[in-house]
Amino acid sequence: MTRKDKLLKEYMTHPLIQDKYSITSTQIPKSVYEGISSSEPIIKAIAHIINEVEKYPGKSEVEVNQMIRKLLNKSLT
């Protein structure tokens, strides 16, 4: 398991994921790659943040923000 996937796994075990978003364990992605294609906006957002931060360690918060907001706005409208 890559470091990215380990991180995602740790975040996915947070109670909010199941309690608030009613995401079942089977819906939880096993990799960041899988998470990016998730239909759940919160999973998609987290997977994208991990992917960007791990892929480009020097990437600024502004760039990450633009990318995530665009992605969320698109999936929520």
């Binding site: 947070h14 957002a45 943040i49 931060v53 918060e61 907001r69 929520l76």
Partner: protein, 713 residues
Amino acid sequence: MIIKSVTLENFQCYYDIKSFEFSSGLNIILGDNGEGKTKFFEGVVWLFNGNRFKLDKLVSKKKLKEEYNNDLFPVSVSMSVEINNQEYFFKKSFYVESKENSIITSDFKLVCWHTNENGERDSFEGDTASNLLDEVFPPEIRRYSMFKGEAELNIFKSGEEALSNLVKSFSNAKYYDKYCSYGNYLRKKAEKEVDKDVKQSSQNKEEFDRIQMNIKSKKEKLKSENKLMSKECGNLEQIKEDLQDADKHFDNAKSLKIIKSKISKLSEEKEAIQRRIVTDFTIRLFDQRWILIHFEKIQEEFNAKINAFDKDRRDEEKRFNIEKGKAQRSQEILEQITPLPVGVPSLSHMEEMLNEQFCKVCNRSAEKGSEAYQFMEKRLHEFINSQQPKQVKPKEKLFRFNYLSKLWSISDNSTRQLRKIRKIEQEIKDVFDFNRSMKIKLADIEDKLNKKEREFEKIIAKSSAEEDLISIYSKVKEWKEQESRFEMSIEDHKRTIDSLETKLKKLEIEKESIDSKDAKGFLVETRSILRDVEIIFNETRERKYEEFLQNLEQKSNEIFSTINVDDFTGEIHLTKEVIGDSEKIKVNLLENGNLYENPNQSLQTTKHMALLFAISELASEVSFYSSEEYPMIFDAPTSSFGLRKTLDFLNLVNSTEKQRIIATYEFVGRDSSGNQEIEGEFSNVNRSKAFWLRREAFDKNDLSTINTTITTL
């Protein structure tokens, strides 16, 4: 990573080139105080962190004196390490010239030689070498891997954030930190987007602005209150620590007093025993006549000789008397006369017979002029002469003086002394037995005295001078007043913060209600998701941090109880405290769930060691980055332990099978001649390698005679 060797060249007390070849596992450097343990440690620290400041202070004085007005000579510290089957050799050096009372040093140079697993070799200098050094042994790990003395181990003082930083560095919490930062930024941006949208479309713009202003003001107040409270909490902790330190100093002063009185008592006992040990052998030899211990044989020989002389003398005398008697008898026989005794006949008869010219003895006539008359006349004269006082002719003797009786008298006198002389041997034996027992007692007392003196030195080293104790005493009252003032003030801040938080919550509910009515749905939803992302990021980091802390606590306690096997230890308890923006981990010792106040120095040291070892073990188990293990170097970390506990501690460290380099003055003792020796107990210490540091013979008034030698044991 393991340190394979460290070489010091003309560095302080290490004259010329001196090397330590280390092995993996436990390496012990033994040395009495002042033999070069700390200089070794300082050499390693200088290699990693040394700057250009006061390079001349690092130079061996012996080398400096030897090379006075000669050529340049090098000073260096080098280290060879192995990591991932690759070897790195780092050498930091500078040159020195000593001329006419001045020391000129060049700038230092760091060089690195790297040999990869295929045996290919590259060399690097300057910044590249420096970066490689940091890469091989990262500074954040070095900070928690190298310790000088017991005091430095206390990096976990509650007033500092050291342990919190340490946990962040060694756990993966640090890694999660950056996600928290992204989460926070994204959430704030989303909040702003919603606010902007509400402002553009709100029908209750004034009401929204009022609420928003109110929220902003309350948040600022809350931030300021938190900041104030955090500052006051810090002050309170500092005061509490000062008070605890003061208590410790008082304890030290008390211990010092007890030890001082014990030392004085032991010194008196020592003097008394020294006085009792018999040393006046010259007096005893002559005045008490110990010299006569073997006199009896001489006396016997003397008596035998006198006896022989006596016998000879008597024999000679006997012979002489016989000879004399014989001569006399011969004369009488020759003369055929049996003379009448003198005075027979009497004087009157004699005169009557001469007058009558008739011998009435022979009854014949003795006419005048006849032979008979002349005979009677001769006898009369003999008689008359015999009545005259006459000189007694000394009796003829063979020996004029009787020396033998004098000799017998000497012998008799000596024989009378023999009873006393026979007791001398036992007396000498008793005195030597007594001296021996006194010396054993003396050695025991000296041992106790040495121990007490060491304890005394340790307390002095740990505590302030006596004057400082007095100054602390005067401050204690003031600190106690400040403590209660801070406690009251913190309570006030807490109440204010609670009230602000309640008001803020109410305002935020009001604002949420306006947001949900007036802002675009997708913006509110994006904000909600990003709020949750921030929560998930923050709480996951907290969870990882807590998990590490729990593991650390468990591991520390395992190590703690192993170090202090059979001793009471209590339990290490780690608690995280967040006050305002600052985060701290408090390390406490609990005794049945209650705080264990003022544990002794030895327990404190083992507590710190246990934490450090536990961090080091856990770091390689959980780290995202690497499972590399790093060596740890300790200079005299066990000063308060005593021999037995140091032994147990070293055996424990050895059992971890990790590279640890520990310098200690324990196990170095003195033999009866005062020479240094390694105590027998050291054979019970399990280790990979051990070194013994000693100075060559030196003049204590001349630093240029000092040279530390290394013996591999």
